[in-house]
Amino acid sequence: MLKLTTEGKKTPFYDKHVALEGKIVDYSGWLLPVQYQKGLVEEVHDTRRRAAIFDVSHMGEVSVKGGDAEEFLQKIIANDIYGLKDNAVIYSPVCYPDGGVVDDILIYRINREKFFLVVNAANTDKDFSWFQKNVFGDVRLENLSSEYAQIALQGPNSEKILQELTEEPLQQMKNYHFLPEVLVAAVKCIVSRTGYTGEDGFEIYCNNNDSSALWNAVWSAGQKHELNPAGLGARDVLRLEAAMPLYGHELSREITPLQAGLDRFVALDKKVVFNGQEALRKQKEEGISRRLFGLEMLERGVPREGYPVKAGEQEIGWVSSGSYSPTLDKFIAMGFLDPEVVNNNTEVSVMIRNRSYRARITKLPFYRRKK
């Protein structure tokens, strides 16, 4: 049973969640709503069909400035930011020298000497220490996490809602682009066309002090566009349907980005040597014994993290994330499986409480929005 709790940090939107009768849980030290009154399934539908507002203030923000900022980032991230334009956003794993993952982050380029990083809540302190340990030359790091509130506005109606609150022509803002200073309902914000749901949408950052005004403005502008609140539960299911990795599940100290199938975010040929490059090149050459695949249950049963996966009697891996998918009305999972066995067996089984349930290997993502 879900354990409700009153310890942990409150985001600036805590009172909004309570007023909306959200079920508050402790998520890596933060008190956040796992769902609201309508429930997780409806919140997933709201996000895919209309629009949803999420409090993601727990995410960490780090500013990187200075003449060597770009060079520094090139050395710590696996992706390549050479040629990244101002006002563009890029996703990248950050690796240890052995290829294991410190975190997966978003990098916002304000200009060549000024970047804004968004990191996972549970990893913020660890990341910041790691950045400091690797810093050199003219690089100034600042952990801004405690100053920023963040709202994710996701779903097909997001643009219409946000456009009511700003003069900026949002239609011109492309996916994975941002503006560093936008007035949204007279609140100074960073606005990016990004998200963790597989839908169109925006992530909006502002100072804690202005956060209530921002939330209220988005909320009231959203009323005629069927905006609803959505919690962490819906967020996790949405990202699973879109096959986006979650640190601690698809990526970790022990799991490399190549195992997680994130090859296109790992610039093995990058000119600047980055942390983990050699180890990842070696892994690519030698092959991978466990790689991420999609699974769809052929029998009713909920595949959950840690459940073993078998082909016949042979154990071939484990489930890293799994759930009922409201969008597909199916039970789906991602899991790390032996690629050689998978190539010869499209049908496998997931062990749920020592009973075997049939599943098949499927392509990722499970869900892709129509553009």
């Binding site: 049973m1 879900l2 354990k3 399934v41 909920v302 409201p326 039970f331 409480r353």
Partner: protein, 134 residues
């Protein structure tokens, strides 16, 4: 104000199962409070007919999108009927926890165990206390 439906005539456990006596047998299910806490139920694992269940021991598994919960048998007994409707429509536990959402029926082994369960009034107080604790 109690926001959860608690039906009189049923007996309840501290793990939020209910039991309705019908002669020498008892129908078992999950309380409205429990289904609300779990959220949308998407899967139910039922015991086999004929299985022996023991008071306080796991007899069925109820899964919502986010959580896995054991349903503990309120009484010792042997399973004589299961609600197979739940296999295709597990959400019946959400929509009608005391009716169409019943889970299984047992032949009661020891009627004296009924005295260890709570009636609706005692259970209502128990739920309020549990809410305050959280």
């Amino acid at each position: 104000m109690m926001k959860y439906n608690i039906v009189d005539g049923l007996m309840y456990t501290k793990k939020h199962e209910w039991s309705r006596q019908e002669g020498s047998s008892a129908v078992v299910g999950l309380s409205d409070y429990a289904q609300d806490k779990l959220g949308e139920i998407v899967f139910v694992e039922l015991p086999d007919v004929g299985a022996e269940v023991e008071a306080g021991q796991g007899a069925a598994v109820i899964e919502s999108v986010k959580a896995v919960a054991d349903l503990y048998a309120p009484l010792d007994g042997s399973v004589i009927e299961i609600n197979e409707e739940l296999l295709d429509q597990p959400e019946l536990i959400n929509t009608d926890p005391y009716g169409a959402g019943w889970v299984f029926k047992i032949e009661i082994k020891d009627e004296s165990q009924l005295g260890l369960l709570m009636d609706d009034k005692a259970y209502a107080i128990f739920v309020v206390e549990e809410e305050e604790e959280n």
